[in-house]
Amino acid sequence: MGSGDCELHVLAVDDSSVDRAVIARILRNSKYRVTAVDSAERALEVLEMEPNVNMIITDYCMPEMNGYELLRRVKGSRDLREIPVVIMSSEYIPNRITRCMEEGAEDFLIKPVRPSDVSRLCGRLRN
């Protein structure tokens, strides 16, 4: 992870352009560098090319590969597994939350995500 003085890089993944714009804005307002992509597949491409991602924040429900599958791929990769992965979902489904946390998710946020949610997460990152 970056040192306290370096700009932290967050990869935001969401197929909804509205939600992508909102989460990117929240993160940028908190002075994070943001790469926002519209699919888990694209996220994996970015992770392959960009070595310095400090956190991934991903929607759960996405077509093709969902956020849970992305989480599993990240945690199953020797190169990527240390990157914290946060899941976002518009639905509160306890089994879904449990499954993600057991798979190694850093946190599970219910949408709409608020700046206070991101501050809390990123506070942990900086520490």
């Binding site: 909804s16 352009s17 509205v18 939600d19 714009a21 909102v22 804005r25 429900c61 518009s90 709409p112």
Partner: protein, 151 residues
């Protein structure tokens, strides 16, 4: 041009959107994210919303037109639409999306169709009102940010 009058009109329109239940607290959250670095953020997000929602509603229309109704697919589309409504605070639309999903769960096609007509009406009215609001804001100039109405 009477900028004060335009700003008052914009503020009144905005207050009406909240008072009549078209928008909820989430819209305030979007306004709070807007700043000098991103002075048109709210309008940009609302534009994205109407672009995406029009596409989703076209998909739902097509799915409802099919002879064999795929309630799972209809529910997936509506879940996406509801998610977008939640993200911008489109409260009345969100309520109708919930009603539609309940009809999907009951495999009640008549209920789905009635609900979808309501969603289309709410979408059209919200679009009209927000377009008017942002047009007034543009005409009034960038100086003032409208204050929150008393709750």
């Amino acid at each position: 041009m009477d900028y004060v009058h335009l700003r008052r009109q914009a503020a009144s329109l905005r207050k009406g959107l909240f008072d009549q239940g078209y928008l909820d607290e989430q819209f305030y959250q979007l306004e709070d994210l807007q700043d000098d670095a991103s002075p048109n953020f709210v309008e940009e997000v609302v534009t994205l919303f109407f672009r995406d929602s029009a596409r989703l509603m076209a998909n739902i229309d097509q799915a409802l037109d099919k002879c064999v109704k795929d309630f799972n697919k209809l529910d997936v589309y509506m879940q996406q639409l509801k998610g977008s409504c939640t993200s911008i605070g489109a409260s009345r639309m969100k309520t109708e999306c919930t009603a539609f999903r309940e009809c999907c769960r009951d495999e009640n096609i008549e209920g789905c169709m009635r609900s979808f007509q309501k969603i289309k009406r709410e979408h059209s009215v919200l679009r009209q009102k927000l377009e008017s609001y942002f047009q007034l804001l543009r005409q009034a100039g960038p100086v003032e940010c409208a204050t929150r109405p008393n709750k």
